[in-house]
Symmetry: none
Subunit: 405 residues, 2 copies
Amino acid sequence: MRPREILQSLSQPSPSKIVLLVMDGLGGLPREPGGRTELETARRPNMNALARTASLGLIDMVGSGITPGSGAGHLALFGYDPIEHQIGRGVLSALGIGMDVSAQDVCIRGNFCTLAEDGTIADRRAGRIPTAEAARLCEILGSAIPHIEDAQVAVVPEKEYRFVLRFRGPGLDGRVADTDPQKEGRRPLKAAAEVPEAKKTARLADIFAALAGQALKGRKPANGVLLRGFDTYPKIATLRELYGLNAACVGTYPMYRGLAKLVGMEVLTTSEEEDFATLARVLREAWPTFDYFFIHVKKTDSYGEDGNFEKKVEVIERVDAALVPAIVELGPGVLAIAGDHSTPAVVKGHSWHPVPLLLSSPFCRGGESEYGETACARGALGRFPAVELMSHLLAHSGRLAKFGA
Amino acid sequence: MRPREILQSLSQPSPSKIVLLVMDGLGGLPREPGGRTELETARRPNMNALARTASLGLIDMVGSGITPGSGAGHLALFGYDPIEHQIGRGVLSALGIGMDVSAQDVCIRGNFCTLAEDGTIADRRAGRIPTAEAARLCEILGSAIPHIEDAQVAVVPEKEYRFVLRFRGPGLDGRVADTDPQKEGRRPLKAAAEVPEAKKTARLADIFAALAGQALKGRKPANGVLLRGFDTYPKIATLRELYGLNAACVGTYPMYRGLAKLVGMEVLTTSEEEDFATLARVLREAWPTFDYFFIHVKKTDSYGEDGNFEKKVEVIERVDAALVPAIVELGPGVLAIAGDHSTPAVVKGHSWHPVPLLLSSPFCRGGESEYGETACARGALGRFPAVELMSHLLAHSGRLAKFGA
């Protein structure tokens, strides 16, 4: 039996509620060598109070030295091996723009491009047209090509010259090679099925490219499309199927809501803008209905990506002041605080550093004076793969029976 | 995908240089329970200065409680799973005496032995003849048997009654059972091929044993040979093939130079005796040419094996004074200091204790007041398998792209 099958076989019901609070890109680095990280710099009396009776640890999202993308980090937190469950670019882009994606779909990333008179690619990115222009072109394509054969077609702008193309219908398969030859001066490639099951999808893609060429004919600079990252919606056993968990997602950003839906969480309605008072209210209202809550905070990552150490610190301080007390007040059986990866401001991007974890329940060893990377490195939980976090959450909430007699 | 395939798929070039300084057998134990280890006892201001802004950790070379040989320890440091890549005794002995070994070779460990009149073994070790006498016998065999069929033969003394026999030629295979019956009073066994591909090698071994018997006829006490540990040169993907690393070895001792060559490092010329000024000069001269440097210091292990706590401390102090500043001055992007295993003076041999690791780069968390086993156990890196060190080195030098979108 593999670890997850063991967990599944030991699962049992429990009234204890689990909260997983994820501050995206939480893990950080000191600004000066030997200094304090963003988390360690933040005034965080509520998290520190929890740390005194919680168990701390460091989690590796994918593996030593591996910098995780957002999909991989979240899947690990939800208990899914991110190496086994790789989500392709098409679906991840679709989730990122809040597109509805389901099992009958193939999602594809598209570029608007400029084709020369002879049909070769003059500019793979159509002069990097602005998002607003791409949005208009997507509308034109959507009206001109509502379906191909028995498949519905949806075309939604992503950013600048990029869009997501979704085919929805029977018999689709994402194993199709890119039509983008990656070089200018060449013609777009025919969509090539990598397996016989994907022939229909490849045919639809070629028809789409031809119809798009007609619909965009004479336009400048975008008069053609290139298609990449063909991908089907991954089939993943849900948290309910695996552990009987009735799970909900409280978060604002489409990508994370999409990932939550992927593992079977109910995605609760929140505000358009990330606002901790609203997140707290939504959580409070849904409290009686679910037994697992994934709360997602995006701004820690955004400021990390910008290289803005102070603003990342500020977001952590606001989470500590506004969100943590609201969660604690509800009396969860288990509260875990973590990130989906590190986004140190000094790196201005995701990094490979393990993520600080705080796990609070009535069954904790340890206790540290603060919640931070250094304290977590010395914590009672040690350093372990993030995919094992779910085991801890299930155990601390009384959801795992004894293994063996 | 397995972890190394993932690393390989994420590899990207970077100008940042990596230095791995290995003090052989560095890990130690206190002389008195609760006291300080060799490393912790040494005056090491330069290592301690690094520790204040570096990340520390403990690495397990093979696994909990497993005492590694030198081959296993180094392969793990170079990123090769030492359980998957086991180097047989024949090849390890050949590397240990600085013998040239390559893909067409089978290496075998031999014993000079004493055969009775009836052909049975009277002494498996020929009265433990001294190395000098074995050297003379090896010369006799080398002249008498320059080749067998189309295979070149080389016979080189190792220590006392031991020698290494190397066959070089087409169609050889190391899967041959020992001819040493492990008991006196029996005849040497015929060399038995364990697979059909090894029949030729077994035949050559039997011919060699017969010819050696003729060449040594009438001598005392050594008048026969026993052959053990048949082994081919392992096929290992090089660091260049795996990660695009242009790697060099700076070290004096044949075994470690051989191991470095095995994984594709260029082995730089140094002095015959271990001399830190020379190692530093060789490193400095080669600095522009390579992007990964493995620097090997042997004496820490030698004194550990001797049970000489003070002398082991002294070697660490000299490395700190002479080698560490020379490395730091060159400005490596990443500097890792570790051992290939522990050799505590109180054990007088290799031990299973995890090895203290210091990893210094601009992307470090943590910071401790000193570099030592206890500080490493509390360090920001935690405890992890040594085979993952390469992932850290690649990550800290900017050589790993993000995993997943």
